[in-house]
């Protein structure tokens, strides 16, 4: 690397021209909205006249709204179900996939990663869950089992949102990349020391996957805590409020009730909840590293 002092002036100027467009976009659509959020949360909005500051009133409204607690409960339930049922499956599948022949791995990966657009994928499942026309009830009928109401059943709705992720299992690209970078000699060495199948997973595979698992877990938690599209399309938050998540509640407050201040206050509460979870996770993970 050159040092700054050696850099000619025209390169330094060109550097700023190269950076300028991204700088503007990142400011206006990256940081600026986040800053505004902390302003909007303390304001009340009107259609015809400018907003006024109302202090903590929006936060008070959020706390007093019984739906807030309901939405957080649903979000945590979704997060736990979704991570518990589907987070570890791709890791497991990726490890097993490595046992196949190179050619088989290639073919399986190609077939696995044939993409379906995300809204298309959600809509296919909505159709599968249809109480009379859907394939799932068709299968249950064929097996002479009682049919289910799936998304319309308050006790089953949340599980039905998560279920596709469990039955459509597949490997994770990140895990495969990591697994392929583990040198074969390590496994051979473990072999010579008499390690069995599960011992090799425990002492050779896992220590090398752990950093990626920790990173993916953080991203997954941030992702599942903000789930919106899936419940919005599949159930619309129902039946009743059984699948109304926090981000759906933010959306409803903002664009159905037009209470922009309260919606943003709730967004900020969720922001701090997610950040707290992430910080705890990082701390746990760091301790984990020290031990191993």
């Amino acid at each position: 690397m050159q040092t700054g002092a050696l850099r000619p002036r025209h390169i330094r100027i060109a550097a700023w021209w190269f950076t300028l467009p991204a700088l503007l976009f990142q400011f206006f659509f990256g940081w600026f909205p986040i800053l505004i959020a902390f302003l909007v949360a303390f304001q009340r909005y009107y259609f015809a006249k400018p907003a006024d500051f109302v202090g903590m009133e929006n936060f008070r409204a959020v706390v007093q709204d019984p739906l807030t607690l309901e939405a957080f409960k649903n979000t945590f339930l979704y997060a736990i179900l979704s991570l518990g049922l589907t987070f570890f499956v791709p890791i497991f599948v990726s490890i097993l996939l490595m046992e196949m022949k190179q050619r088989t791995i290639r073919w399986m990966m190609i077939l696995w990663f044939i993409p379906v657009a995300s809204m298309a994928g959600i809509v296919i499942w909505k159709y599968m869950y249809h109480p009379t026309l859907g394939l799932l009830n068709g299968l249950l009928m064929a097996l002479h089992l009682p049919t289910q109401k799936w998304l319309d059943d308050p006790n089953l709705a949340m599980l039905s949102l998560v279920l596709p992720g469990l039955i459509m299992f597949g490997p994770g690209l990140m895990y495969i990349a990591a697994l392929q970078s583990i040198p074969a000699e390590l496994y051979e060495a473990a072999e010579l020391e008499g390690a069995r199948f599960f011992q090799k997973i425990r002492f050779v595979t896992m220590p090398r996957l752990r950093p990626i698992i920790a990173m993916m877990l953080i991203f997954s938690v941030i992702g599942v805590m903000q789930v919106f599209e899936l419940p919005f399309v599949m159930t619309g938050g129902g039946p009743g409020y059984a699948t109304t998540t926090v981000v759906m509640q933010i959306y409803n407050q903002a664009f159905s009730a037009f209470n922009l201040g309260k919606a943003t206050a709730l967004a900020i509460v969720l922001f701090f909840v997610i950040m707290t979870i992430v910080i705890i996770q990082r701390r746990v993970y760091r301790e984990d590293l020290d031990v191993s």
């Binding site: 990142q26 996939l97 046992e99 696995w112 994928g121 299992f169 919106f228 903002a254 950040m275």
Partner: protein, 337 residues
């Protein structure tokens, strides 16, 4: 290979274990493929088969009626079905999606790549470090916090409030991007994750390459375009693929910005609206008004929904085919970063 050693492969127990693993993996593959096959098969069923005989794996009388809706509009409604999606031929939504996604890619890739290149190779170390944090810092912030502020900002860009400041009595200019394609495209013009991929790649290129070009008298732009970009092809493929698929799949942004402009909806919004109108629709055979009859004959129903889902997935599939090799290479290249 790694867990089960070559030497043991002959033993019956080991072979059985391998067989079980293979069966398990192929079941996963089959389930993925089945969803795709089911989507295609349902899209080829005539509407009455969807309602009377929905569980056949393959349509008994395949029909392309639903795909014809791509080019014809249907305005008749029947029996509590309000189908505003078909007011336009469905190809309108395909065109909108292509327009939004390609403009996003064309804007995002140069903006992001140039910033990453400058931060990696041109800026003084201290400025580079600060800029790097500025560019990737938003990755750590949950995106939902910006839903409302972004809406306010787009309503009177670049001001987030209705009280737009005036200088010497003249109000500052502001533009409403709500109802405009740009309200969807501009927020995606810079992407922090792709920035990270580009920067990681440019960091691996030797500075000497650049210096050689500079000594030959090439301008900075030429250096980047003629020397660096040809080397960056794998990472370019990965970022273009990510940018395209993200723009193609985006729902909440277009939904909020383009809600009232049906002629500008992308496919994701059209699909959402279509499934929404179909959800409670169940025509019974006995009492059928002519309008419903006509709807059924023209292929409106879950078959049309699946046809639209197929149409939405085709460009993703093409992008996957085009970039597949580069994608695998690019991911190995950036390793575990």
């Amino acid at each position: 290979m790694p867990l089960i050693p070559e030497v043991g492969k002959r033993r019956a127990k080991v072979r059985l274990a391998l067989l079980c693993i293979a069966a398990f993996l192929w079941i996963g593959v089959a389930l993925h493929l089945f969803a795709v096959v089911w989507m295609i098969s349902a899209s080829l069923k005539p509407t009455h088969e969807i309602f009377e005989d929905p569980f056949h794996l393959w349509p008994r009388h395949p029909s392309i009626a639903s795909y014809k809706l791509l080019f014809t509009s249907v305005t008749a409604g029947g029996l509590n079905l309000n189908i505003d999606v078909f007011r336009y031929p469905l190809i309108t939504y395909v065109r909108n999606s292509i327009y939004i996604s390609s403009l996003t890619v064309l804007l995002q890739i140069p903006v992001t790549a140039m910033a990453a290149y400058a931060v990696s190779k041109m800026h003084a170390p201290r400025a580079a470090r600060l800029l790097f944090l500025f560019f990737i810092g938003t990755l750590m912030v949950p995106g939902q916090i910006a839903i409302v502020p972004r809406f306010l900002l787009l309503s009177h860009f670049p001001w987030p409030t209705q009280n737009i400041p005036s200088i010497a009595g003249a109000q500052m200019p502001s533009f409403s991007l709500i109802g405009s394609y740009w309200g969807v495209i501009l927020p995606a013009a810079f992407n922090a994750f792709n920035f990270l991929l580009f920067k990681g790649f440019f960091d691996t290129l030797p500075t000497e390459l650049m210096d050689a070009a500079r000594i030959d008298g090439a301008s900075e732009l030429t250096t980047m375009r003629a020397v660096m970009l040809p080397l960056a092809r794998p990472i370019l493929a990965v970022t273009v693929y990510f940018a395209f698929t993200a723009a193609w799949n985006e729902f909440l942004g277009p939904w909020i910005v383009l809600m009232s402009e049906q002629g500008k909806w992308p496919l994701s919004v059209a699909l959402y609206k279509l499934q929404y109108s179909l959800t409670s629709w169940q025509p019974s055979q006995g009492s059928m008004d002519p309008a419903t009859q006509q709807l059924l004959a023209s292929g409106v129903g879950y078959n049309a929904l699946m046809a639209l889902a197929v149409v939405e997935s085709i460009p993703m599939f093409l992008a996957f085919l085009i970039f597949r090799e580069q994608l695998m290479k690019g991911i190995q290249l950036q390793g575990l970063k």
